[in-house]
C-alpha cells in the first residue's frame, strides 16, 4: 500500500492508501473534507475541482498516490480564517449558486482562472469555466460572480 504525505489546507497529513483510492475519496472519506463533490464518473463535471500545487485539477481523475508530496487546497481552505476569498464573496453577492453542489468546484476553477488572468472578459470567463457544469444557474450569475471577484481589491 503506498504511503502518502500531503499538505492539505496548510496541514501535513500522512496515510497509507490503497493504490486505487481516488484523490477525491481520500479528501472526502479519509480527511472528512466533504466540500469537494463527485458529480460524474467521466471527469466531465468539475464538481471535484481542487488545487494541487496551485493549479486547478479534477480530484476524481487522480489517484491519491499521485498526489504524494503535493500541496492541496480544497474549498474548505480557500478563505483566510474568517475572511472569505473574493470569489466566495462574489458568488454570494451575485447569486452565483443555487443548490450549491457544483459551487466548490466552480469557485476553485475560477480561482485558478483569476490567478492567470486577473481581468478576464465575459468570454474568457465562460471559456475558463468550460470544465465545470452547473445545472441551476444558467451560468449568468456565475459569470457575474467571477467579474465581481475580479474587480475586488
Amino acid at each position: 500500500m503506498p504511503k502518502i504525505t500531503v499538505t492539505v489546507n496548510g496541514t501535513q497529513r500522512t496515510h497509507d492508501v490503497e493504490g486505487r483510492l481516488l484523490l477525491v475519496h481520500y479528501l472526502r472519506d479519509v480527511l472528512g473534507l466533504t466540500g469537494t463533490h463527485v458529480g460524474c464518473d467521466t471527469s466531465s463535471c468539475g464538481a471535484c475541482t481542487i488545487h494541487l500545487d496551485g493549479h486547478a485539477v479534477k480530484s476524481c481523475s487522480m489517484l491519491a498516490a499521485q498526489a504524494d508530496g503535493a500541496t492541496i487546497t480544497t474549498i474548505e481552505g480557500l478563505a483566510s480564517g474568517d475572511e472569505l476569498h473574493p470569489l466566495q464573496v462574489g458568488f454570494k453577492e451575485e447569486h452565483g449558486l443555487q443548490c450549491g453542489f457544483c459551487t466548490p468546484g466552480m469557485i476553485m476553477c475560477a480561482a485558478d482562472l483569476l490567478k492567470r488572468n486577473p481581468n478576464p472578459t465575459e468570454q474568457e470567463i465562460r471559456e475558463g469555466l468550460e470544465g465545470n457544469i452547473c445545472r441551476c444557474t444558467g451560468y449568468h450569475n456565475i459569470v457575474r460572480a467571477v467579474q465581481h471577484a475580479a474587480v475586488a481589491p
Binding site: 472526502r28 474549498i75 472569505l84 443548490c99 453542489f101 444558467g138
Partner: protein, 796 residues
C-alpha cells in the same frame, strides 16, 4: 383573500434582492448533502443492474460474491421482489377502465424491463468491496426483443413490456371539446398548419447524484432514512403505507441539503426502500450513492412525446381549432406522478394564451423498455407550450404574417381575476389573472423587432444566418386544490403545512413542508416572516426537510413552494398576530379590536401605547399577566389548500445565428419577460428564470437521451450527453411584469419552471426562422438541433 398586491406588511425585505442566508455554508464547502453523512458502523451498498433492456432472468448465482471477504449481505428479488413502489396518480381509460398498473419491484426476480433494472444489492464493508462482489454475481439472462418508441410500442406484434398489458397501453385519454366539433372547426379553416414532431426524452441531471442512507435503531424500533429528495414527507408516506408496511411514527425521513432535482428527486425510488430494508436486516447503517452512469439509467427521465398537431385559422388569422394526437412514453414502470404529467399537467394547458374555441387532445400513454419517465422541470406544460408555440410561429411563416401580430390577434384579453372573472378554458382550467399582450409588447420593445429584421437581411448579405423565435407561454403552478386533484385521480392531497413557533425571546422558528433543493427557501420565507412580524431576518430560522421536526408537508416541485408553502406560513403568521393582539390588549387594557400590529409593535390604535413583538412573545411563555381562557405559548401550525392553481405567463424571444456551412447554432440573445405575480426576492426569481432558460435552451440545442434498437442508452455519460456549459449560453436579458395572483395571500404565482417552459420553442422557432430567411422552408428539425440536423435541413 384577494388583495391584488402586498397590502399586509412592512416591506423592509419583501421585494428586495436579499442575499441568500444559505450561501455561507455552500461557498465554504460546509453544505451537507446525503453522501457527506457518515454514520458509525456504516456499510455500503452496490446495486447490480441489468445490462439488457428486456430479458428473462433464468438464474442468479450469488454464491461467489457472498463468500467474498467484507460482504455483509446480498439481497435479490427472491427476498424482496414482492415489495414494489407505487404510482401516486390514477388515470382511467377513455372508457372508464382503470389504468394498467403493473408492479415495480424493488429487485426484479422474473423479467428485467429496462437497462438498469435492479437485480441484486450487495451490502459490504466498503464501496469497493460491494462493487467487486456485485461483479462476481452471475445472472443468466434470456434476452428478449425490446421496444423504445411509444408510437411503435402500440403496434400489433410489438414486444410486450408487461405480459399482461395489451399493446403496452397504460391508458388512453382525451380532453377538450368533443372530437366531432373540433373536426368540424378544422374542416372550416382557411389555413391549417400541421406539425409532426418528437418532444424528445431528456435526462434531468441534477448535479448531486441520488444518495440514500438507511438506519435502524433497535432500541427504539425506529428507522431513519436520509435521502436526497424534494419530498421527505411524501417519501415517508409512500414507503411506509404503500411499500414496506411500516408504521409512520416509527420512520423518520430526513432530506439534508439537496443538490438540485428538477423533478427527478420528487419520486419514491426503489433504492430508498432497499437501504431501509437492508439497515433492518443487517442492524447497521447502509449507504447507497448512485454513480452518474447509474443516474442516466435510473433517475426518472422527462418529456418523450410523439405528436401530430394541427392548428386551424380563419381568413383573418384567428385560430378556429386545435387537434392533437400524442403518444407519451412512460417507460417500463409507472413512476410516482408519471401518469399525471401527459394528462392533467399537459392536456389542460393546451388553451395556451389563446382564445382557441375548439380543442381536442387524444393521448395514449405507453409502456416501453426504457427508464421511467416522470415530471422534469415544467412537467407536461413545456410539452404543451412547445406544441402551441411551434405551431404559432410556423403558421405565421406559412401564412406570411408577423408571428407576434398573429399572437396578439389571438390572445385572451387582459383580466385581473378580482374585478374581472378568471378565464375558463376549453381544457378544464380557470386561469387566475393575466395580461398577455403586456409581456409580448415588452419583449418586442427589448428586441426591437423591425431592427432585427433589418439586421437579419444585412447579415444574410454577408453570409450569416440570423433568426428570431418567439414563445409566449402560460403554465399552471401550485397544483391544487386537493378536492379537485383527488377527483382527477391524485392519491395524495396537495396542500402545504407551515408552522411558526415564536420562541420566548421573540426569535422565530418556522417549519415548512416545502423542501429546498436550491431555491433559497431559507431566505425567501424568512423575508416574508420577518416583514410580517417586523423583526430582523436573522431572528428567523427556516427549518425544512425532516419529517420528525416538520409536522407534515408535500415537498417542493411544480413551482409551488412560495404560493402554497408560503401561504401556509402566512396563515400561521395571521394566527400568531391575532393571538398576540389578544395578549397585548390584555396588557394594554383595551379590546383586541383596538390593537393594530405594525412594524413589529402591537399598538392601541390612535395612541402611542404599544408593546413590542418580543414583549408579547415573552408574555406568552411567562403568562403571569395574561388573558383568562387563553392558552399560553405562541406557536401555530396551518394547512393551506389553495383554491386554484396559479398561472404565471411570459414572453421569451431567442435570437440565433446559424453557421451556414456547418449548421452550428449559437444563441446570440435571449429575452425573457416573465410575469410570476408578486416577487418576494427579485434576485432569486431571476436566478430561477436563468436556470430554467438554460435547461430549456439545452433541450432545444443539446440534450436528448438516445436509444439504440436494443434499448441501450448510447449517450449515458457526460462524455456523450451534452448539457449547456458556460460558453454555450449568452447573458440573459430579463424583465418582469407583475400581475398578482388574486387567490393567495402573497399574490405570488411561482417561478421555478417558467424559464424552462418558454425557452425551448423560442430557440427552435428562431432556427426555423433563420432557415426560412435563407429559403429553406423547413417545418421541423428534430430536437436537439445538433449541427448535423440543422445542416441536413439546409441541404434539402
Amino acid at each position: 383573500m384577494g388583495n391584488g398586491g402586498l397590502i399586509i406588511m412592512s416591506n423592509k425585505f419583501i421585494g428586495k434582492s436579499v442575499k441568500r442566508v444559505e450561501d455561507k455554508r455552500f461557498i465554504t464547502g460546509k453544505g451537507r448533502y446525503t453522501d457527506d453523512i457518515n454514520l458509525p458502523g456504516m456499510t455500503h451498498a452496490y446495486i447490480l443492474r441489468s445490462p439488457y433492456a428486456h430479458a428473462r432472468i433464468k438464474s442468479i448465482d450469488t454464491s461467489a460474491a457472498a463468500a467474498m471477504q467484507g460482504v455483509v449481505t446480498i439481497m435479490t428479488g427472491d427476498e424482496v421482489g414482492h415489495y414494489g413502489v407505487p404510482c401516486g396518480w390514477q388515470v382511467n381509460f377513455k372508457n372508464g377502465d382503470i389504468m394498467k398498473e403493473p408492479p415495480h419491484p424493488l429487485l426484479v426476480k422474473d423479467k428485467v424491463r429496462h437497462v438498469g433494472d435492479a437485480v441484486a444489492m450487495v451490502v459490504a464493508e466498503s464501496r469497493e468491496i460491494a462493487q467487486d462482489a456485485a461483479e462476481a454475481i452471475v445472472v443468466d439472462y434470456e434476452v428478449l426483443p425490446a421496444i423504445t418508441d411509444a408510437s411503435k410500442a402500440v403496434e400489433a406484434g410489438a414486444p410486450l413490456v408487461h405480459d399482461d398489458v395489451p399493446n403496452n397501453i397504460c391508458f388512453d385519454w382525451e380532453i377538450g371539446n368533443p372530437k366531432a366539433e373540433v373536426d368540424e372547426a378544422m374542416a372550416s379553416a382557411a389555413h391549417v398548419t400541421t406539425l409532426e414532431f418528437v418532444n424528445q426524452r431528456v435526462s434531468p441531471n441534477a448535479m448531486e447524484p441520488r444518495s440514500y442512507i438507511g438506519h435502524y435503531d433497535g432500541v427504539y424500533d425506529k428507522y431513519t432514512l436520509y435521502t436526497s429528495t424534494q419530498n421527505p414527507h411524501l417519501i415517508r408516506l409512500l414507503m411506509c403505507a404503500f411499500v414496506l408496511g411500516l408504521p409512520e411514527h416509527k420512520v423518520r425521513v430526513v432530506g439534508p441539503d439537496v443538490g438540485g432535482g428538477f423533478g427527478s428527486k420528487i419520486y419514491h425510488y426503489t433504492e430508498e426502500a432497499l437501504v431501509t430494508l437492508a439497515a433492518k436486516k443487517t442492524g447497521r447503517p447502509v449507504k447507497w450513492t448512485e454513480t452518474r452512469s447509474e443516474a442516466f439509467l435510473t433517475d426518472a427521465h422527462g418529456r418523450d412525446h410523439v405528436t401530430k398537431a394541427e392548428m386551424g385559422f380563419d381568413g383573418d388569422g384567428k385560430i378556429v381549432g386545435l387537434r392533437i394526437k400524442t403518444f407519451a412514453n412512460l417507460g417500463a414502470y409507472l413512476s410516482t406522478f408519471s401518469t399525471a404529467v401527459p394528462t392533467y399537467l399537459h392536456g389542460t394547458l393546451l388553451q395556451g394564451l389563446y382564445t382557441t374555441p375548439k380543442i381536442h387532445l387524444d393521448m395514449t400513454c405507453v409502456f416501453t423498455n426504457t427508464t421511467a419517465v416522470d415530471a422534469y422541470r415544467g412537467a407536461g406544460r413545456p410539452e404543451a407550450t412547445y406544441l402551441l408555440e411551434r405551431l404559432l410561429d410556423l403558421s405565421a411563416l406559412e401564412m406570411g404574417v408577423n408571428p407576434t401580430e398573429l399572437r396578439l390577434k389571438n390572445f385572451i384579453p387582459a383580466f385581473d381575476g378580482v374585478t374581472q372573472p378568471g378565464y375558463q378554458t376549453n381544457v378544464a382550467l380557470q386561469y387566475d389573472s393575466g395580461n398577455y399582450h403586456g409581456v409580448l409588447h415588452r419583449g418586442l420593445e427589448m428586441l426591437g423587432y423591425e431592427d432585427f429584421r433589418k439586421a437579419q437581411k444585412e447579415a444574410a448579405a454577408s453570409g450569416k444566418l440570423l433568426g428570431v423565435g418567439f414563445s409566449t407561454y402560460i403554465e399552471a403552478c401550485g397544483i391544487a386544490p386537493s378536492a379537485v386533484v383527488g377527483s382527477l385521480g391524485a392519491r395524495a392531497g396537495l396542500y402545504e403545512v407551515g408552522q411558526v413557533r415564536v420562541q420566548p425571546t421573540g426569535k422565530v422558528s418556522v417549519f415548512t413542508g416545502a423542501h429546498s433543493h436550491g431555491q433559497g427557501h431559507e431566505t425567501t420565507f424568512a423575508q416574508v416572516v420577518a416583514d410580517r412580524l417586523g423583526i430582523p431576518m436573522e431572528d428567523v430560522d427556516i427549518i425544512h426537510g425532516d419529517s420528525d421536526t416538520v409536522a407534515f408537508g408535500m415537498g417542493t416541485y411544480g413551482s409551488r413552494s412560495l404560493a402554497v408553502g408560503g401561504s401556509a406560513i402566512m396563515k400561521s403568521l395571521d394566527k400568531i398576530i391575532e393571538k398576540g393582539a389578544k395578549i397585548a390588549a390584555h396588557k394594554l387594557e383595551c379590546s383586541p379590536d383596538d390593537i393594530e400590529f405594525v412594524d413589529g409593535k402591537f399598538t392601541v390604535k390612535g395612541t402611542d401605547k404599544s408593546l413590542g413583538f418580543g414583549d408579547i412573545a415573552l408574555t406568552a411563555y411567562v403568562p403571569h399577566v395574561y388573558p383568562a381562557n387563553l392558552e399560553p405559548g405562541l406557536d401555530f401550525s396551518s394547512f393551506y389548500d389553495p383554491t386554484n392553481f396559479t398561472y404565471p405567463f411570459g414572453c421569451h424571444i431567442a435570437v440565433v445565428e446559424v453557421d451556414k456551412e456547418t449548421g452550428a447554432t449559437k444563441v446570440k440573445r435571449f429575452i425573457a419577460v416573465d410575469d410570476v405575480g408578486n416577487v418576494i426576492n427579485p434576485m432569486i426569481v431571476d436566478g430561477q428564470i436563468h436556470g430554467g432558460l438554460a435547461q430549456g435552451i439545452g433541450q432545444a440545442l443539446l440534450e436528448g437521451v438516445e436509444f439504440d434498437g436494443n434499448g441501450q442508452i448510447i449517450n449515458g455519460s457526460y462524455m456523450d450527453y451534452a448539457m449547456p456549459r458556460a460558453d454555450d449560453l449568452p447573458m440573459f436579458e430579463l424583465d418582469r411584469q407583475v400581475t398578482p395572483c388574486p387567490h393567495n395571500p402573497l399574490g405570488v404565482k411561482g417561478a421555478g419552471e417558467a424559464g424552462c417552459i418558454g425557452s425551448t420553442p423560442a430557440v427552435v422557432n428562431a432556427v426555423i426562422d433563420a432557415l426560412w430567411s435563407a429559403g429553406h422552408q423547413v417545418k421541423d428539425i428534430r430536437m436537439p438541433l445538433t449541427s448535423e440536423r440543422v445542416w441536413s435541413a439546409m441541404q434539402s
